[in-house]
């Protein structure tokens, strides 16, 4: 309890509150702008937070993450252009409701469902993080190796165009993490005579390149896309009677979203899609979905915001990112000198509770932002791309240079962006690569330690019960994309899933 109070006290300092609200504003803004995303904003912000208090910077990023998920729904509802992937499901009924003349109601439902989902997951986060960390403290290298393999295998089920390509991107990420001096033997690996590579590839320039520069190149194809100008509307909160009707759905979607968020690698996008599908499956009026039905907005919105809080649980308790964005928060923790994993809560509990406080404030904050400024935020889509993306590139340049004042990092950023652009064109997503890059060191370290412990005999790993559990989970997650098809083959039914 003392740690909770300490963490919350830290958060309520003026500078920290200001940074959290800054994070909320930036989050809603980038969430609302199609093309910009919270991972991109966090990647761009990361190098500039080096000089800030670490707890304040991480809290700001957590706030940005929460608000970014909600921000995407504003443009999804008003102009049918989801600002962020998790808002894709919201657009299905949100935009229809807006077209039916009730944009304020659609925004209100999305905001309230998001807040409930967010708060629900934060409570779970507060309870589950220390429990999970306690369990993880009992893990040895072999169990951690099993856990990290399971986390990487979850990339197969991650939202994206192809499970195989997600896994390939994850493996490539791990491979890139092996660049530099091998800690166990001191052997230099894949340096090709470039001295700057002896410390390995730095996360930040790669992240900026993958999330910002590759998106800039993608946007260069659609410069003249006309954005529909929407009429400004005010946000209208749902009535108590309406909320009473929807409370079961909100609770169910929040629970589902939190659970999906806690699963390694799965994030808000998967949660939103499942939230929509489950809302439709449980609905008494499934035929109304897609026509501007309130349940079609509440289901995905509660789920995607709940996933944001849920994803923080494995990130902070195990050092395993719960989503693409939390992978960036994990990178920021490393950058600020923290040790992600179960030791984080024993060594710096105030940080974990400060993040909890920041997410709490962010969830209430974006409701306020939504109430006051939804109509203004919807106008951000009118910013011309020809001015917006050069600004993003300026931040990318300055950010990657500022990280260690080296032009080499700028080149890494640019090359990552260009390779990322062509990879994305071929169906690869940046998030699995980033997960692999960040988890890579842990996978190799735990593998090496386990091999030493078990006399270089891999089969001995199976002596550990926990390792076997993770192997089983890995097999299940790798085969999960085929479950639906097998079930449909057996039952002869066609999937009713919208996604």
């Amino acid at each position: 309890m003392e740690d909770v109070i300490k963490g919350l006290t830290l958060i309520f300092e003026f500078q920290n509150i200001a940074l959290i609200f800054g994070g909320v504003l930036v989050g809603v803004l980038v969430g609302a702008l199609p093309g910009l995303s919270s991972p991109m904003a966090i990647a761009l912000l990361m190098p500039f937070t080096i000089s800030l208090d670490p707890i304040a910077s991480i809290s700001m990023m957590a706030a940005l993450y929460c608000a970014g998920t909600f921000g995407g729904s504003i443009t999804a509802i008003l102009i049918n252009a989801p600002g962020a992937p998790p808002a894709v499901a919201t657009a299905l009924d949100g935009y229809q409701m807006a077209k039916n003349g009730e944009p304020g109601r659609a925004l209100g439902l999305a905001a309230v469902a998001s807040v409930f989902g967010g708060l629900f997951s934060i409570i779970v986060f507060l309870i589950a993080t220390p429990v999970l960390a306690d369990i993880a403290l009992q893990f040895g290298p072999v169990e951690y190796f099993g856990l990290s393999i399971f986390a990487l295998s979850m990339l197969a089920a991650m939202s994206g165009k192809s499970s195989i390509r997600n896994l390939i991107a994850g493996v490539l990420g791990v491979l890139v993490s092996t660049i530099g001096v091998h800690l166990a033997t001191g052997v230099e690996r894949f340096e090709f005579g470039i001295q700057e590579l002896s410390d390995g590839i730095k996360f930040v320039p790669v992240l900026i390149g993958l999330f910002a520069v590759s998106e800039l190149l993608t946007q260069s194809k659609t410069l003249n896309a006309v954005v529909e100008k929407m009429s400004a509307k005010t946000l209208k909160l749902p009535t108590i009677a309406e909320l009473k009707k929807l409370k079961g759905l909100i609770l169910r979607s929040s629970g589902l979203g939190t659970f999906i968020g806690i699963l390694p690698a799965e994030g808000s996008t998967v949660a939103a899609m499942m939230g929509y599908n489950e809302a439709k499956r449980w609905s008494k009026t499934p035929e109304k979905f897609g026509t501007g039905h309130a349940e079609g907005i509440v289901g995905p919105e509660a789920a995607n915001n709940a996933a944001a809080g849920g994803a923080m649980v494995p990130t902070l308790a195990l050092g395993i990112p719960g989503s693409g964005t939390t992978a960036l928060i994990l990178a920021a923790l490393v950058m600020h000198g923290f040790r992600p994993g179960p030791y984080l809560i024993t060594e710096t509990p105030e940080l974990v509770y400060a993040i909890f406080g920041a997410m709490l404030i962010a969830n209430i904050g974006f409701l306020g932002v939504g109430l006051v400024g939804a109509k203004y935020f919807s106008y951000v889509t009118l910013i011309p791309k020809k001015f917006l993306w050069p600004s993003v590139f300026v931040f990318s340049l300055i950010g990657s240079y500022a990280y260690s004042s080296a032009m080499f990092d700028v080149w890494v950023m640019l090359l990552s962006g260009i390779i990322g652009y062509f990879a994305m064109r071929n169906g690869f997503s940046p998030a699995p690569f980033v997960m692999g890059l960040i988890l890579g060191k842990m996978v190799e370290e735990t593998f090496t330690q386990s091999m030493v412990i078990y006399n270089s005999n891999f089969m001995n790993f199976f002596d550990s019960f926990v390792f076997n559990i993770f192997v089983l989970l890995t097999v299940m997650s790798l085969t999960s994309p085929f479950w639906g098809k097998i079930k449909n083959l057996i039952t002869g039914k066609k999937s009713e899933s919208v996604f």
Partner: protein, 177 residues
């Protein structure tokens, strides 16, 4: 009345022809070539010194990854057979050739990065903000000029004066002197 025969479309709906998807085959070839090079290069790593005892050599883990990479990559050219909808979506994205404007943008970004050290941070920002909108067809030159001056000035003030970030003066140093 002649009944129209219902034909079953065995032909792939994607860019694939027959058993293999052409673009994915090329992609897989690139990945396998890359993996083979990494495997070959890892083979040249020196073994761990005997003093370290039973530790794992530096090449073991990368080689394992390469084997896994190749194993996964082999599936890619056949992926359209079991996930046709997903590959259709990917084919839509890569169906057209990379637009000329994207190639030019890549070239300009590389040129800006090459000259960044010489120009210095502020001038580099100015060049970015001026050249990219013009390159992308912006015709409101006055707006571009205002943006190219004001935005770098804002970034400089915020990050240099407020946050204390070092900005390399570059070419401006000569003028300042």
């Amino acid at each position: 009345m002649v009944k129209e025969k219902k034909s079953i479309d065995f032909a792939p709906r994607t860019l694939g022809a027959g058993l293999l998807h052409k673009k994915d085959l090329l992609l897989a070839a690139i990945l396998i070539a890359f993996g083979s090079f990494i495997y070959y290069h890892a083979g040249k790593f020196p073994p761990a010194p005997a003093i370290l005892g039973d530790t794992i050599n530096a090449d073991v883990f990368p080689k394992m990854l390469v084997v896994l990479l190749i194993f996964l990559t082999v599936v890619v050219p056949f992926e359209f057979k079991f996930s046709p909808k997903k590959i259709d979506k990917i084919d839509k994205d890569r169906g057209d050739e990379t637009p000329r404007i994207t190639w030019i943008t890549i070239f300009v970004l590389l040129a800006i990065a090459s000259s960044a050290e010489f120009l210095g941070s502020v001038l580099t920002m100015f060049v970015c903000c001026f050249s990219i909108p013009i390159l992308w067809g912006e015709k409101r030159y006055l707006a571009v000029a205002i943006y190219a001056v004001l935005f770098p000035a804002f970034v400089f003030l915020l990050f240099n004066k407020v946050l204390g970030l070092y900005f390399n003066p570059g070419l401006l140093e000569v003028f300042i002197k």
